[in-house]
Amino acid sequence: MPKSSELLSEQSEYKYGFYTDIESLNFGKGLNEDIIRKISLRKKEPEWLLEYRLKAFKHWLTLRPPEWADLDFVPIDFQEISYYSEPKPKDDSDKPQSLDDLDPELLKTFERLGIPLGEQKRISGVAVDVVFDSVSVGTTHTEELKKYGVIFCSISEAVHDYPDLVKKYLGSVVPYKDNFYAALNAAVFSDGSFVYVPKGVKCPIDLSTYFRINAMDTGQFERTLVIADEGSYVNYLEGCTAPQRDENQLHAAIVELVALDDAEIKYSTVQNWYTGDKEGRGGIYNFVTKRGLCKGKRSKISWTQVESGSAITWKYPSCVLQGDYSQGAFYSVALTHDFMQADTGTKMIHVGKNTKSTIISKGISSGQSKNNYRGLVKVMPKAEGARNYSQCDSMLVGDRCSANTYPYLEVKNKTAILEHEASTSRISEDQLFYLQSRGMSMEESISLLVNGFCKEVFKELPLEFAVEAVKLIEMKLENSVG
């Protein structure tokens, strides 16, 4: 049994920390118009998209990184990052025809990450788009999905194959002027996933994207766009890992969701980027802009996230509730350990009438980490009958970590009803001893405590994801307390 003074965490062996030695096509470090043109050319993009990128880049040059978050780190040198890296194709032809034709090293990598891609071994019931550094290297189940009219492919393919949809919605939820990292992403985004679910279709299987950062000194700037047409439904999952390195790496993504009348999108993330070592060296800087637009009446968007990785997390998955009677939800578990820092939360913007939002946030901090919830509930003047329920709970493990809650409210309509609850608790030696003295092992005790604390969020995750998330959190916490 550890003493309180030993409650300091010991970073577990990060089993996804390996590096795949694979030749890559890399544009070198630095960011300028040339690089952006090169990316666009490499992707054989239409002129309008290149222009969009260049406009975003010009705007980005006028911005400074946001400083309002409660994060403490050495400023990022954006000229020291390489903005494009793809596994070198065997010949100059386009993408391999079938996933079975992929470089065996890549197949092996994803198999090791638990995402078998080969036709025979695939996980049934979930379609996967896999993004390796700057490119999507393959998408499974696309043909099967096409039968239902569901489009699931990389965004680069979508630009060519479904230009009207992309043109109409890209940047419609997160404009490039939104913030510093959104502008950066709009300028240099290299790949990501695209989903379109047609009217009245309930997507028959879950869709998912797996993000892998591999190359050194390279940032990942992916962009995901999900459109659910009237009366449709889709369940979308996202996972991410990266090699273990002493240098920090930047991940600045954008995710845009659009739900039309009566459509529903559920978006779940298990984020497990490399966190840095126990002295705080290395790890991913995760600066992500995720936003969903409930554009149609009675549309629903929910974000569920388990944030257990990254040295720094800056992420506020939000909902704009534009359609009358639309609903937004945010369910989050954020775990920080060692020297990790997380500033995460959500924004719920009530625009339409009788809109409803729910926020459940659970922060667990251990070691010397910092874990902040930052959230905004905004009720616009015309949003009659808006309702929000927020609950923000923090759990501290040991006595050198910190947790803060910053709930902001802007209410411009008198009919709004808002409720907020918050709590802070501590996993103490006494609590663990209490459970152990009832016969439960250390593992069982932690699992019971964490499950109890996160129950409301875990129940929102698809079953296999929930099991995975529980295991992940348990493993990380076990190393923090024992």
Partner: protein, 250 residues
């Protein structure tokens, strides 16, 4: 012999608290340990249960497991619990988000699995636990509230006795279970404990007051002072302490 403590020394934050305790407990016996504040009463029960904040610096504690004397100090707290040691906490801990039912069932099954009894799922466990709740007069709704969350002092203590009833320990330490209880709650708790007395198990009552001993008759009373047992006797010793205080011994 169920428990044999010999010359036990223990420290907390390098400060000696137990300074040579000797105590033997046979199956079927009830012992009361009394003593002024700071004499080491609570420490003794925590050391037997294996609390990590206390360091054993000398002596032996052996516990009979499968007819063999086993060095208890070698076992982790959860292993001790699975072998049948139970500590009713003076200050029961809250476990937010975990229902009492989940907690009791996980705990029961951890012991059952180790001791070779069939584990129980909710269907079988519910009637079993409800029966035990009657004994300590707890309403069913307590099963669905989080462990000790928002419980009154008396409810927490009754919840401890409920756990004891569910786990059926071979050796139970009740650490000031009577403190902070009104007379009705005290009677309920005492009745619960009396129901759990058997020829096979041992019970140790750690208490400040004679009051509890009016309801649970101990076989032996020990007086602890400055980390040592300075006097042992029968129930009459407790009565004498009640009327004359501790000064006459020291």
């Amino acid at each position: 012999m169920l428990l044999n403590i010999e010359d036990l020394h223990a420290t907390v934050e390098d400060k000696p608290v137990l300074k040579g305790i000797d105590l033997k407990i046979e199956p079927g016996q009830v012992h009361a340990i009394m003593g002024p504040n700071g004499s080491g009463k609570s420490t003794l029960s925590k050391v037997v249960a294996g609390h990590p904040s206390y360091e054993v610096t000398g002596g032996k504690v052996s516990f009979e497991i499968n007819f063999k004397d086993t060095d208890l100090l070698e076992l982790d707290p959860d292993e001790r619990a699975r072998e049948g040691i139970f500590l009713a906490f003076q200050y029961p801990v809250e476990v937010p988000g975990v229902t009492n039912l989940e907690f009791l069932m996980t705990s029961y099954n951890a012991l059952a699995k180790h001791q070779g009894f069939p584990e129980m799922q909710e269907e079988a466990f519910l009637p079993f636990v409800k029966e035990k709740m009657k004994m300590v007069q707890m309403r069913e709704e307590f099963l669905y509230r989080s462990v000790n969350g928002g419980f009154s002092g008396g409810e927490k203590k009754r919840n401890e006795i409920l756990q004891m009833a569910v786990l059926n320990p071979r050796l139970a330490f009740l650490d000031e279970t009577d403190s902070g209880l009104d007379i009705d709650a005290l009677k309920i708790v005492a009745e619960g404990v009396n129901n759990l007395r058997s020829k096979d198990n041992g019970i140790v009552l750690v208490t400040h007051y004679q009051r509890l001993l009016d309801y649970i008759k101990p076989d032996f009373v020990h007086v602890l002072s400055d980390g040592k047992i300075i006097k042992s006797g029968g129930p009459e010793l407790a009565l004498k302490l009640e009327s004359e205080g501790y000064d006459w011994i020291q």
